[in-house]
Amino acid sequence: MQFTIRQNTLLNTIQTVSKAVAVRTTKQVLTGILLQATEKELTATAYDLDLGIQDTVPANEETGLRIAQPGQIVLPARLLTDLVRKLPSSEIQVTVHTNYVTEIRAGSAQFHIHGIDAAEFPTLPVLHAPETLQISAPLLKDIIHTTGFAISTVEARPILTGVHVECKNQALTFTATDGLRLATRTVRLEIPEEFAWNVVIPGKSLNELAKILPDDEQVVVVQFTDTHCLFQSGSTLFYTRLIEGTYPDTKRIIPKTYQTEVAVVLDDMLGAIDRASLIARERENHMVRMEVHDDVINVSSSSPELGHVLESVGVVEKTGEDLFIAFNARYVMDALRASSAAEVLFRFNGANQPFTIVTRGDESAALQLISPVLVR
């Protein structure tokens, strides 16, 4: 294999796929990036068996890619990334010699790297899904942003480490919960009505996907099989394993009614809780109290060691009863940060029932549900 390529093109493509390089593994080949050159293009692949990312660069003027001889090789990912970043010249020539020794030359610098036989690299799953779904990249990114943080980090219940993705009745719903809080988001899609999917995607994979999705209005093509899921965005393919098992029925835990509803300016509330959480540290389980009294919300927190904080937040609108409730500040801050709305609605059903946060004016789009803390 021999090709020349522009430095930033190669760096971009290996940085894109490097999110899927295995970190802790005994199989050395998984810590590498597979480079494959055909007559017309160069493909980089990383695959840790859960997550696989493949990026393709076409041979043309813009990329500076010229392929002299097709072929393939696996190179150690960390070394390759650092090396390409530090090369002195903008044009890089890569040549594979015998015994997988790979020469990387730029300017007067010349590396000889020990590669691994490309035949050892695992093949990515093949997806032949009959139907595909198309969604705009910024929208998908936003859906992941509003739900992906709520997954569980405890492996004892693997299904909760994933995001439940359900598509039916021309609506796509993402739901994530760790058992204490839940985030869900539904979007309408122009798709055939009989179209139905129900899968659980590892939350870690989705959060990685969000990092490499472009910000411009590109279309992402999504395909599912029973075991895997593929996102295609431009020249990048993103494969992820699915989590087996049945996701808990979250519909029944989302309250339909409420006794108290308050509308607040999101930034005001987020700031107040953020400040209160300075006092509500780890030892106090990040516990912040909220008192809804007439047209004011008092946010407070206290710690035997640090002291006490009290702040009032104005209410834009209120219906229902006064209320006193306590919660883990981190959960509410996560929920508020996931929203880009100017104003949100807090809906309560008393101090010992979960409460919801929705966008004011677009109540059905996204919903954050949080279990409170009972103060003894």
Binding site: S152, V154, A156, G179, N285, S371, V373, L374, V375, R376
Partner: protein, 421 residues
């Protein structure tokens, strides 16, 4: 303790405590027993399981010790050394009950008191004072009170600080009347001629002092410049230097047993090697239940759950812990994580001992509710289980899995510290 008045610290140590309780509990032996004559005791040993010759001597009366019986000796050896040895099975609950009452007596006799172990504690009183004009007489009075009420001998060391009191106590063994007082001005004269091995709390460091520094007596240790000790022992060098000069700045902490727990940990040694995962799980769950119950009793909940396994032959094993996002003391929330730790780190070897620990504790003054579980209901459930166990015993309510052959809880419930209650 205020700076301007001197205090005398006492260290009190019960003689062969478990064996003494057994002798005092049997009228045949108790009546013959005399305070100042150790030889009025029968040659008696409290041993692990008298039916098995491999049982270990937990405590032996002075008469038995004189015949060559020693603690931690195997029963077979002990009987060889002293054929007329009387052996009794341990009654741990009785020893604890008596211990609590002896400690109460010490606490009531002097202004300051600090428990140290089942059979040892410290006390302190001001000196000079009108209440205790004669320190030795005051200590003797306590010793006689304990004898009168419990028929248990003790010895007492009096000195200006805890460490010296402990050292003075050792000398009390060979002193008629069982009380030794080292007044401040005599501490160094008493301490320095003693051999290095006598320095309490040094463990292996005594060997280093002898081999590397050529010390024979504590006086020799006192002459080593503190810098050289620091080079050899790190922070311990400073401590050794202070001790050798009869100094110990540690104060009296009457509430030492009441400070909040840093963590809860329970461990059990299995009667045989467990090789089946299902069997190990039964024991893991039993230990978790015990750890959670202790946390609930203390009003605490923990975020980090740990599992330790010791492999066959009691060699090798692992201890691994996982931190959860929120604290709990309910086993159903912790057990899946323990299973994950087991599956990840157990290499399949036979398991001889299991331990479970819960730490990173917080006070249980708030209760994080859950979307899927009725946490207040689970809390009431466990409170009820705890109350039933407190009233009717540990095995009044137990898991069905504990009835499996692998279950240890029924055996354990009859034991304290691994010995018969």
């Amino acid at each position: 303790m205020s700076e301007w008045s001197e205090w005398i610290v006492g260290h009190i140590d019960m003689q062969s405590f478990y064996a003494s309780v057994e002798i005092a509990a049997d009228p045949r032996w108790a009546e013959r027993r005399q305070l100042e004559d150790d030889l009025t005791d029968p040659p008696l040993a409290v041993t692990g399981d008298p039916k098995r010759r491999s049982g270990i001597v937990l405590a032996a009366s002075p008469t038995a010790k004189r015949a060559g019986v020693d603690t931690a000796m195997r029963l077979g050896e002990a009987l060889q050394a002293c054929p007329r040895l009387v052996t009794v099975r341990p009654r741990m609950q009785l020893y604890l009950d008596i211990s609590v009452r002896v400690h109460d007596m010490v606490r009531m006799a002097f202004p300051l008191y600090e428990p140290f172990s089942v059979d040892e504690c410290f006390f302190a009183f001001p000196w000079p004072s009108d209440l205790f004009p004669d320190p030795v007489a005051a200590a003797r009075r306590l010793r006689e009170q304990i004898w009168d009420q419990f028929r248990i001998r003790c010895r007492i060391g009096l000195a200006p600080n805890k460490w010296c009191a402990k050292m003075a106590n050792k000398r009390a063994k060979k002193t008629p009347g069982g009380v030794v007082w080292w007044p401040r001005e005599r501490v160094l004269a008493e301490l320095h001629p003693l051999p290095v091995e006598e320095m309490w709390g040094l463990r292996r460091r005594a060997e280093v002092l002898k081999a590397q520094f050529g010390c024979r007596t504590i006086g020799d240790v006192a002459r080593i410049p503190v810098g050289r000790l620091r080079d050899a022992f790190g922070v311990w060098g400073e401590v050794i230097h202070r001790w050798a000069h009869g100094m110990d700045p540690s104060g009296m902490h009457p509430g030492t047993m009441r400070v909040p727990h840093q963590g809860f940990s329970n461990r059990t040694t299995l009667p045989r090697d467990y090789v089946e995962r299902a069997d190990i799980c039964v024991v893991v769950l039993e230990l978790l239940d015990e750890v959670c119950e202790r946390a609930r009793q203390a009003g605490q909940a923990g975020r980090r759950i740990g599992l330790g396994l010791t492999y066959e032959g009691l060699t090798g094993g692992f201890y691994r812990a996982k931190t959860l996002p929120w604290p709990t003391n309910r086993p159903e929330e912790l057990y899946p994580t323990l299973l994950a730790l087991l599956d990840r780190h157990w290499d399949g070897r036979g398991v001889r001992a299991v331990s479970v620990s819960l730490d990173m504790l917080t006070w249980e003054n708030s209760l994080q509710l859950s979307l899927f579980a009725d946490v207040p209901r689970r809390t009431r459930y466990w409170r009820t289980v705890d109350e039933i166990r407190a009233r009717f015993g540990e095995t009044a309510v137990m898991r069905a899995s504990s009835l499996l052959p692998a279950g240890q809880i029924r055996e354990r419930a009859r034991k304290i510290g691994g010995h018969w209650a």
